[in-house]
């Protein structure tokens, strides 16, 4: 049973990680807690099933299209809601973020209704619902394998973009000091837009994977996921991309084991307790660096 719980927790954790990465990147670059990120995740899932059921697009192209749309949505959110407030006190941007989140949630409710919507079963490859392999008492489904593979591939890709490309270098430079980066000839707004696009498309994938895994989507699904991903990002050290990945996985596994062995009633509580414990011991999170305040 322990091994099974571990695999269950890993699935959940990788999905948290995928959302948390989007949070943490935006925070790293402009120090804004983007509360609307959970809604982008929700929109990604809904757009994907709409492409599948209304336009008849097969699953994988629909995922790609949903990612592209969410990238666009992420950039638009930044352009419309955050960029005008770039120089304003941070509290203003935070309030706007919450506003955008509520706005998007209600838009989704108008478009797709308030009832939960099932993920179109026919679009999901049959191999996903079958058991992929059995390890002792543990059975892992094809979909779980796909979730592991997709999230890990995505995170490797992201790490490469951040560490090996020019735009990644620019993102890291912005995270260190926006003014100096601008003086070095970096187009600050363009890099921020890129960050939003990247984070939002990863969020969309997470939403789609959750939709496929639980087979249920609802307009309000972004809120809970957003809070969990935020906790994961904080746990790992907000602003740190590898931290968010680790934080997501730790949170997912802690929650699952907590629900399995302690009490299901406290599952959220256990997740947050782990987060608080880590922050008490390591105020900057698991992989966060304790750097001084930025100039």
């Amino acid at each position: 049973m322990f091994e099974q719980q571990l695999f269950n927790g890993l699935t959940l954790g990788l999905i948290y990680a995928l959302i948390a990465v989007g949070y943490t990147m935006v925070y790293g670059v402009i120090e804004l807690i983007n509360f609307a990120h959970g809604e982008v995740y929700m929109l990604g899932a809904f757009l994907c099933i709409t492409f599948i059921s209304a336009l008849g697009i097969p699953l994988f192209p629909a995922i790609a299209l949903a990612m592209a749309c969410c990238a666009l949505i992420g950039v638009s959110i930044d352009r419309i809601a955050y960029r005008p407030l770039r120089k304003a006190p941070r509290l203003a941007a935070l309030i706007t973020a919450i506003g955008v989140s509520i706005f998007l949630q209600n838009i989704a409710m108008i478009i797709w209704g308030s009832r939960p919507v099932p993920f179109p079963r026919d679009a999901v490859p049959r191999a996903f619902s079958e058991t992929a392999f059995t390890l002792g008492s543990v059975s892992v489904s094809g979909l779980q394998v796909f979730i592991y593979a997709a999230t890990i591939a995505m995170m490797i890709g992201l790490t490469l973009i951040i560490n090996k490309t020019r735009v990644g270098t620019a993102m890291r430079a912005l995270a260190q000091n926006q003014v100096s980066a601008a003086l070095m000839g970096i187009n600050v707004n363009r890099i921020i837009a890129f960050t939003f696009a990247l984070g939002s498309s990863l969020g969309a994938v997470a939403g789609i994977l959750v939709g496929m895994y639980y087979n249920t989507l609802s307009a309000t699904m972004g809120y809970n996921a957003g809070v969990k991903a935020f906790a994961a990002a904080v746990l790992g050290g907000i602003g740190s991309v590898p931290g968010a990945m680790l934080g997501g996985v730790v949170l997912g596994i802690a929650e699952t084991l907590g629900a399995g062995y302690v009490s299901s009633q406290y599952r959220d509580g256990i997740g947050y307790a782990v987060m608080i414990a880590v922050i008490l011991l390591r105020p900057s999170g698991l992989l966060g660096k304790s750097v001084g305040q930025k100039a």
Partner: protein, 386 residues
């Protein structure tokens, strides 16, 4: 100068529309419908809204009540007790609202109830099944202000335990329950009767509304090899429990009460929904000809199968409107009329059967058992003798 003229125009317009409103107010009788229309429970609110709207449209198409049209005013309380208390204050304070169809959630109903008692306005809940409502709905004079067109949790919880043990002969059951007034009340009633009829409970797992991952609890329960799962909650989460149980290889019959009873349960759980047994206050297949007409009209209008919430809401609105038509648009008289429906002879004949109330405002409704078979709700082969 320009500015002033604008002001005058605005004032004139305000006065005009204000008067238009007053003129309108004389022509309509308003009833309040507080339910969740946004937030996680909005799907249920939608069902109640559909049922009430059908009754109101039907009455208005026939010319209304005593020459006046009925208007349903919808209040969104998101199934949240805090919101419900606010909405309850608003409804209680607006004398134009003669009666109330609501609330949907037991927790919300309990939170809003004190306002209705103080202001003296009768509320008819189509769906709130929590037991404690029966004892919290009287004012200082001992008058009941809250009625309900649905049975209580202790009734359906005990009914399900009996059905599992006596009719189906099951032995071991695991329980999932939502951590809310509804989920806990239903679970407690179930556990009490389960003990009495010799069912062994091998696991009790709580979850919060909106939870979507039940694999840890199911993995744990699977080791205990239960014969059945009892889901004391609503269909969103229930469908996930069923689906994830199936994925983990736990292929046992599922049991649930009214909260699970929704066409969306099957849509969401897919093939995993099969072999789910539910108590239902309303069974389309066992319904009379009037109900058949309602079912068809509902399907034509909303393009989905009718659910028990809509049916109960339709009748709940029907009772309030009947009371208004008999005694006029007067809050106190409407209550008196509803309270006087206390025997079979004085009951209301609606599509969900004959409804009458005891001195606690509770009605006695029979329960049916239906089940999911090949992706469809069908009446269960074995019904309990009522």
């Amino acid at each position: 100068m320009k500015c002033k003229r604008g002001l005058v125009v605005a004032l004139a317009m305000a006065a005009f529309f204000g008067m238009a409103n007053l003129a309108l107010a004389a022509d309509v009788i308003k009833i309040a419908v507080p339910s969740p229309f946004t937030g996680p429970a909005a799907g249920y609110g939608d069902n109640v809204k559909a049922g009430v709207a059908m009754k109101v449209d039907e009455i208005n198409a026939k010319g209304g009540v005593n020459g006046q049209k009925i208007e349903a005013v919808f209040f969104d309380e998101q199934c949240d007790p805090k919101e419900a208390a606010t909405v309850g204050t608003k409804i209680a304070g607006d004398k134009a609202l003669v009666g109330i169809v609501g609330h949907l959630c037991s927790g919300a109903h309990l939170a809003a109830l004190p306002n209705y008692l103080r202001a003296g306005v009768a509320a008819m809940s189509p769906t709130a099944t929590n037991v404690t409502i029966s004892d919290k709905n009287k004012d200082a004079k001992g008058q009941v202000w809250s009625f309900r067109n649905v049975y209580r949790d202790d009734f359906q919880g005990a009914f399900l335990a009996d059905y599992m043990a006596k009719t189906l002969g099951l032995k071991k059951v695991a329980v999932f329950y939502e951590n809310s007034d509804y989920g806990i009340g239903l679970k407690d009633a179930f556990l009490k009767q389960a003990k009495a009829v010799g069912l062994t409970v091998v696991g009790e797992e709580a979850y919060m509304k909106g939870a979507n991952d039940f694999t840890p609890q199911l993995t744990k329960i699977k080791g205990q090899a239960p014969d059945a799962l009892f889901i004391s909650g609503y269909y969103n989460e229930g469908a996930l429990v069923a689906d994830q149980a199936k994925k983990l290889g736990l292929a046992v019959p599922k049991f649930g009460a009214d909260g699970l009873d929704n066409a969306d349960y099957i849509k969401l759980a897919g093939p995993a929904a099969d072999n789910t047994y539910l108590t239902a206050p309303f069974l389309a297949e066992k319904a009379g000809p009037e109900a058949k007409a309602f079912i068809d009209a509902f399907k034509a209008k909303y393009n989905r199968d009718v659910d028990w919430m809509s049916a109960n809401a339709y009748d709940a609105a029907g009772m309030i409107i009947e009371a208004i038509s008999k005694v006029g648009a007067d809050r106190a008289k409407v209550r008196e009329y509803l309270a006087s429906m206390n025997s079979k002879e004085k009951g209301y004949k609606g599509i969900t059967g004959l409804t009458f109330f005891n001195d606690k405002g509770d009605c006695e409704k029979p329960a049916f058992v239906k089940m999911v078979k090949d992706g469809k709700f069908v009446p269960a082969e074995k019904q309990m003798a009522n």
